[in-house]
């Protein structure tokens, strides 16, 4: 069970909002890069987010670049899952590869600061603040396996190959 607060973002939050190209020189210094996570969408996010919290976004979260550093710094910031109405393709796969769950649900029903509880196995988001419950779509099986192993690298370390 994942538990934390909601940090709300709008539509079309790009990988440049999350980890802009101007900071590419920090990509081999991840702890420093992580201090700037989502800086161009919400400059206060990095200092406010706590372990377990959720990013709750609108449509097309993570559009743009293939830079895996984007979900990586989000994970390093302590975010336990991303909830969005929809997510861009490469970002989606990158997040799962890093063991960061991405859950597609109607995020309009969640407000900034709401206390949430996510049950990955049951596919539910309990909004403790509002007293209601959302469900999210199931991931493809191959992605569930990768997520279960904690990401693609541990998955390959364990199996040495894809097991579909």
């Amino acid at each position: 069970m994942l538990k934390g607060r909601a940090f709300k973002f709008g539509d079309n939050i790009s990988t440049d909002h999350i980890t802009p190209g101007r900071l590419a020189h920090l990509r081999s210094n991840l702890p420093e890069l992580a201090k700037h996570v989502l800086e161009d969408a919400d400059p206060a996010f990095a200092s406010r987010v706590k372990a377990g919290d959720f990013i709750v976004a609108g449509n097309n979260f993570g559009l743009g670049s293939s830079r895996e550093h984007a979900p990586l710094v989000i994970k390093m910031a302590g975010v336990s899952a991303i909830l969005a109405k929809s997510v861009a393709r490469i970002f989606f796969r990158n997040a799962i590869n890093l063991g960061l769950p991405v859950l597609i649900c109607d995020t309009a029903l969640i407000d900034e600061g709401d206390e949430l509880e996510v049950d990955l196995a049951a596919g539910t988001v309990n909004n403790i603040t509002k007293g209601d419950q959302l469900t999210f779509g199931k991931l493809p099986e191959v992605m569930l396996h990768i997520l279960d192993e904690g990401g693609l690298i541990p998955y390959i370390q364990k199996y040495g190959d894809f097991r579909l």
Binding site: N59, S66, N94, L152
Partner: protein, 417 residues
Amino acid sequence: MGKTLAEKILSQKSAGDARAGDIVIAQVDLVFAQDTTGPLTIRQFQACGFERLADPEKTFLFLDHAAPSPNRSVSNDHMLLHQFARQTGCLIYNVGDGVCHQIVAESLAKPGDVIVGADSHTVTAGGLGAFATGMGSSDVAIAFGLGKTWFRVPESIKIVVSGKFTHGVGAKDFVLHLIGTIGADGATYKALEFGGDGVDSMSMSQRFTIANMAVEAGAKAGLFPADRTTQDYLISQGRGDHYQPMSADGDASYEKTVNIDLAALEPTVAKPHNVDNVAPAKELKGTEIQQVFIGTCTNGRLEDIAIVAEMLKGKRRHPETRLIVAPASPQVLLAAIRAGYIHTLVEAGAIILPPGCGACLGLHQGVLGDGESCLSTANRNFKGRMGNPKAFIYLGSPATAAATALTGEISDPREVF
């Protein structure tokens, strides 16, 4: 039931009957990373315990995003990539060797290939009929080590193109119009497949521009058929033997069809801060522009530079507008020098950057000031993209860029020339 181009290529490379929605494991013909994604790719490769590449001859590294390096951190990343290339035997394209997607197009990609790159604009090679897609460092690291990757076979959206471009209108206007029509997430998880009479008359350069921006509609791939034009291009690159014809079956099944008449298009610009926020260039007249940037994997080819040079010949850029031109490869630069275009551009007040990504991603070579606006021929105008979240980026064609450089405000090229 026939197959789409995506289904055909993924069937061939997974030795099965790949249909939209299936999960397949496909062999990769070409896998690469660049200087901003490569270091993490190498670290993930090593974390997996791989000691050698599945095939060094199919594995490439490119130093293009920050080339030459603007600071010591990037220089150290470049050193790491060189060291990896020495250890594993993969080929590395060094600083100045050009933009990865342009080199892949000129020298490496073949129709029918499966190509994965740690760069979202890997889709560019779809212009010559390759199933090419961008992935993150972990996926690319696994493809380095195993020579294969998994895909969900995408549904395809068919773009039926008719007619011919009119004067002053080109491939960039087409693709901006398309993205404006279907939206920045209009093709998420899908492939865009281009066909129809209008495609027959498109040059390879135009096809690459369009395939390049498929990802700006969220697409996994942007696929053109491989035809006579593709064959002529490959022959001109000294690799006619890489040609094979590729086309979708007539009875393939598409998720939907979008019709576009080239003759009905007009110069189009994407306004800040999203690529689907499009408007006709003429409606943006009066928008002052401090920097015009021409180049990148989208529009840094010889045809693009030729358009700009012909429009600026004997003229001078607006005194308050910087004009920055980055040819996409040494081949492009040399051809532009031979044709006299570089001479013309320098006389018109242009700054010529070395072959590479230049100012596109905000690292160097044209970072915008607070409140400044840029008209760029690149593919992204996200907030902060060119190094400053307080700046504004408009995307347009090389012709619109040339007209804008001359007037200092966004201009419809048909009204200026």
